[in-house]
């Protein structure tokens, strides 16, 4: 995390309570915290309602409100998390409401992370395998209100929502048994109603809520068996969708406040550079312009409309100090990588067996160098943030993947305490990692607001967004492999630039006895950002293309080759075989078409994709169909799950076909959608998604469909043209089917 919030040390508990007049509240809370009192006050808005901590509230009118500590950016988390809580409560879904938890300390998720993982509150024994798997990762994601790493359902849902829901149900049933003086085992709870058949007694959850509040929460609530689910696993419509078809959804960019001003910025085009001097006098003469100010690395114009601010920027004369990075280009960066990889054997990622020896004595030896360029996120909603600093307090309106972290960032930038920052979380017009920990635009908005006596909304232009992103890094990855007489790989030797999260991104699932995977760090001045699926997106292109090369070198079918090497990986095998079957692998093809396949495990889910392609008359790759098989352990909402898979594939397909951020003279060459091209309807393949519920630990879905697509398509290109794609994007390759049997590669 980019912020230095202190780790809490106070004891944390599953806690519940209520007030006379009705209502039950339940969640995880920091005991005895004043902040908690504040949030409690802010959330209690109805007679007889009370809020003690995070997550659940049952009101006298029988409505269940679930407070979700994550941002909705289209992944459906504002619906899937309440579904998990409601399931455990045997709730009537029509009585379930969702609210996004305010960005307040008390709502941070570390009640779970530190409580469970530190065993302070006693980890519910329902997830025995979890601690070992998740370790500090869970703590990282849950520490703040982070939405990323496909973590929401896996961590908050599994550990928070389900346990809180089950605890609430337990308390309601015990309260009913007590007040009716009947055995607990005879109290049935279904669809927000408690009943006791023998006595004919019944009450709604709402009616029983205050009695339940008198009961102490169970330390180890029993969770429902999957066979009993009635809500989880259903394609329940998302809460957020109706507001997104009539223009009423409120995104960060839609914040409007009385007296609000607008800011547009001109950052130094070269990363790391600064403003040497500027003359804003001409801009100040323009209509509506209030101020021209300097902030670190940029000049900002503040005006009474965004358009006026942006137009006025062209009248500001700015001299930049480029700080020595003005000679850097994509070419010099790749040359720097090559040098680093040549000079340094790097740090170990995986070392098993003796790859060097196996390469030496190999029957057949192969090597290949792969590259991917920088990529920008290009969220549909350009970066923006509204900040009002007044009387030592700050108010913030923003769409952020980490709302609490964003508030902490504002506090730090403005020199305020976190208690003096109120952040209003708004919807995100796309996140993909950009609105996570890399929240430079929030810092800038704060720096501007510190110099302005009004609320001010900073809006980046698309050009700002493309040229000042935090980029998926360009990477070089070099491979060597040895095959035995049967064509099976006996050595896998990989050297790549820059290790990023997740740590297993460059690992292979295949049975290769000798492996040496090592990495070399090679810093550039281009800012780094997490980009949907992070390091998996690059490494899966590399590893799944290179294994495809080996399959062809061995004279084997790429699906069969993989299958044989995955004999000891039953989940992988099932996913691969399903993709091949549904993708009609080996089946007849229209003339001029070919298929490619790739598989990757990421964020605990395994995805295999089969892509069917042809070449257009212009030599461009046309992807006709993508069939995806996905094992995500358990599916919460099948409709959102499929939507996420489709989304992940389109995101990865844009990168594979078109994505290319290049650096010249220290700055990004591309500036807007015409030269940073996106997949549109006309490029779209038919996408078919097949979900497998293997019962394995629940996996993420926001990201895992992205990694395999570039390799699946590139492998299809090889099958069709004989040309091996070792550098993305595909649009930069001159492809024809004429060279099908040539050994060409680049």
């Amino acid at each position: 995390m980019a912020f230095d919030l202190k780790k809490p040390t106070r004891r944390q508990l599953l806690i519940a309570g209520g007030v006379a007049g009705g209502g039950l509240v339940l969640g995880y809370a920091v005991m005895g915290s004043n902040k908690q009192e504040k949030v409690r006050a802010a959330l209690v808005n109805g007679e007889g309602e009370m809020m003690l901590g995070t997550w659940l509230k049952i009101s006298p009118d029988n409505v269940i409100t679930v407070y979700v500590p994550h941002s909705e950016m289209g992944q459906g988390v504002h619906t899937s998390l309440p579904m998990m809580a409601a399931e455990e409560m045997n709730a009537d879904w029509s009585l379930v409401r969702m609210e996004q938890a305010p960005a307040q300390q008390v709502f941070k998720n570390d009640a779970l992370a530190t409580g469970f993982l530190g065993n302070e509150m006693g980890f519910p024994k329902v997830f025995p395998g979890f601690i070992e798997f998740a370790g500090s990762t869970a703590a990282d994601f849950m520490h703040l209100q982070v939405t990323g790493g496909s973590s929401s359902v896996r961590y908050t849902g599994q550990l928070g929502m389900r346990v809180a829901g089950a605890a609430a149900l337990d308390m309601l049933r015990r309260a009913a048994a007590k007040s009716w003086n009947v055995p607990l085992s005879e109290v049935v709870a279904d669809k927000n109603i408690l009943t006791h058949a023998a006595s004919g007694k019944s009450a709604t959850y709402g009616e029983m809520a205050s009695a339940a509040a008198e009961i102490s929460p169970p330390s180890d609530p029993v969770l429902k068996a999957k066979a009993d689910y009635t809500i989880v696993g259903q394609p329940i419509p998302r809460f957020d969708i109706p507001s997104k078809v009539n223009g009423t959804a409120q995104y960060g960019i839609d914040a409007r406040l009385p007296g609000m001003l607008y800011a547009a910025i001109a950052p130094c085009p070269v990363f790391g550079g600064d403003v040497a001097s500027f003359d804003g006098s001409a801009a100040l003469n323009r209509r509506g312009v209030k101020k021209v100010i300097q902030i670190p690395g940029a000049v900002a114009v503040v005006a009474d409309s965004y358009w006026r601010a942006k137009e006025a920027l062209s009248d500001v004369k700015i001299a930049y100090d480029l700080k020595g990075n003005e000679a850097v280009s994509s070419d010099t960066i790749y040359a720097q990588y090559d040098k680093a990889l040549a000079e340094d054997n790097g740090s170990a990622d995986v070392e098993k067996g003796d790859a060097a020896a196996a390469l030496q004595g190999a029957e057949r030896f192969f090597e290949a160098d792969y590259k991917v360029p920088y990529l920008a996120h290009a969220c549909m909603e350009p970066m923006n943030c509204t900040v009002h600093i007044k009387d030592g307090k700050a108010e913030v309106w923003v769409g952020a993947q980490d709302a609490l972290g964003a508030a902490a960032f504002v506090a730090k930038t403005a020199g305020l305490s976190l208690d003096d920052v109120t952040l209003h979380p708004l919807m995100l017009g796309g996140g993909f990692g950009r609105r996570g920990s890399t929240i430079d635009f929030i810092e800038q908005a704060t720096q501007i607001a510190m110099q302005v006596d009004a609320p001010v909304k900073l809006v980046w232009s698309r050009e700002n967004d493309v040229q000042h992103d935090c980029y998926r890094p360009a990477i070089t990855s070099k491979f060597q492999a040895a095959l035995d007489a049967d064509g099976n790989p006996v050595a896998w030797h990989n050297r790549y630039i820059g290790k990023n999260e997740p740590a297993d991104a460059a690992h292979i699932p295949y049975a290769v006895e000798n492996q040496s995977i090592r990495y070399v760090e090679s810093e550039t001045h281009v800012p780094f950002g997490a980009w949907r699926s992070v390091a998996h997106s690059q490494h899966t292109f590399f590893t799944e293309s290179f294994i495809d090369e080996l399959a062809h070198a061995a004279g084997k079918d790429p699906f069969v080759y993989r299958r044989d090497l995955l004999k000891d990986q039953p989940r992988h095998l099932a996913v691969l075989e399903l993709a091949a079957e549904k993708g009609n692998w080996g089946g007849p093809l229209e003339k001029g078409r070919a298929r490619g396949i790739a598989i990757q495990q990421s964020f605990q889910s395994i995805v295999a994709e089969v892509a069917e392609i042809s070449l257009g008359d212009d030599g461009r790759v046309k992807v006709h169909k993508v069939v995806a098989a996905v094992d995500c352990g358990e599916v919460i909402n099948p409709d959102t799950a499929v939507a996420q898979v489709e989304s992940g594939i389109v995101y990865g397909l844009t990168a594979a076909l078109y994505g290319d951020i290049t650096i010249e003279q220290g700055a990004v060459v591309q500036s807007n959608f015409p030269d940073y091209q996106m997949v549109t309807l006309a490029d779209m393949p038919v996408i078919e998604t097949h979900l497998i519920e293997s019962g394995a630990a629940i996996g993420g879905l926001g990201e895992p469909a992205t990694p395999p697509i570039a390799a699946a398509v590139s492998n299809a290109v090889f099958a069709l043209t004989g040309k091996r794609i070792r550098k993305l994007p595909l649009m930069n390759h001159d492809l024809t089917t004429a060279g099908k049997f040539a050994q060409a590669a680049d």
């Binding site: 950016m73 289209g74 992944q75 459906g76 419509p237 998302r238 957020d240 969708i241 109706p242 507001s243 997104k244 078809v245 009539n246 223009g247 009423t248 959804a249 409120q250 995104y251 960019i253 839609d254 409007r256 607008y262 209509r287 409309s305 965004y306 358009w307 290009a378 969220c379 549909m380 909603e381 350009p382 919807m427 995100l428 017009g429 796309g430 996140g431 993909f432 809006v459 232009s461 698309r462 409709d639 959102t640 939507a643 489709e646 989304s647 992940g648 594939i649 389109v650 995101y651 807007n672 959608f673 015409p674 996106m678 997949v679 549109t680 309807l681 006309a682 779209m684 038919v686 996408i687």
Partner: protein, 154 residues
């Protein structure tokens, strides 16, 4: 200089520059934020509105060019499509197919699609591909296509 616009049937008079793009007049001057900013150069379609029934990208449409015209935005789409209240059939199809993800592009998508359907009530996939060039970074394209077909074959 005062400029008079008719937005969703309501006359609005603005004292702004004639070269101010319609997008920013709608968003910042009139507070109608349903129309979105995505690129500013007519390359993404997020800002699509109807001008006299035709889809136009409002980020490059100066006010001077639409003075006196009938402008429909996402806020007025349901009514323009004949819905007495609530959603039009097109928007309802968007909900039924659960089209939006982040939703940011969807105002523009709906405006572009409704304009296409006016001219071509039963578009083929090829017609859709040619007419709807809006960008959706969340990749909701398969559902957009499905929703168009659902509403045109209903």
């Amino acid at each position: 200089m005062a400029i008079t616009l008719k937005v969703n049937g309501v006359e609005q008079t603005l004292d702004v520059e004639p070269d101010m793009p319609l997008l920013w007049a709608l968003r910042d001057e009139l507070g109608m934020t349903g129309t979105k900013f995505g690129c500013g150069i007519a390359a993404c379609g997020a800002c699509t509105v109807h001008v006299d029934g035709q889809a136009m990208r409002s980020c490059v449409t100066p006010l001077a060019a639409v003075e006196g015209s009938d402008i429909t935005t996402i806020e007025g789409l349901a009514k323009a499509l004949g819905a007495e209240e609530g959603l039009s059939a097109l928007q309802a199809a968007w909900v039924a197919e659960q089209v939006p993800q982040c939703g940011y592009c969807q105002s523009g998508m709906l405006m572009a699609v409704s304009s296409l359907l006016k001219e071509n009530p039963k578009p083929t996939d090829a017609d859709i591909d040619a007419a709807i060039t809006n960008i959706c970074r969340c990749g909701t394209y398969p559902r957009i296509r499905a929703a168009i077909h659902a509403v045109t074959t209903a």
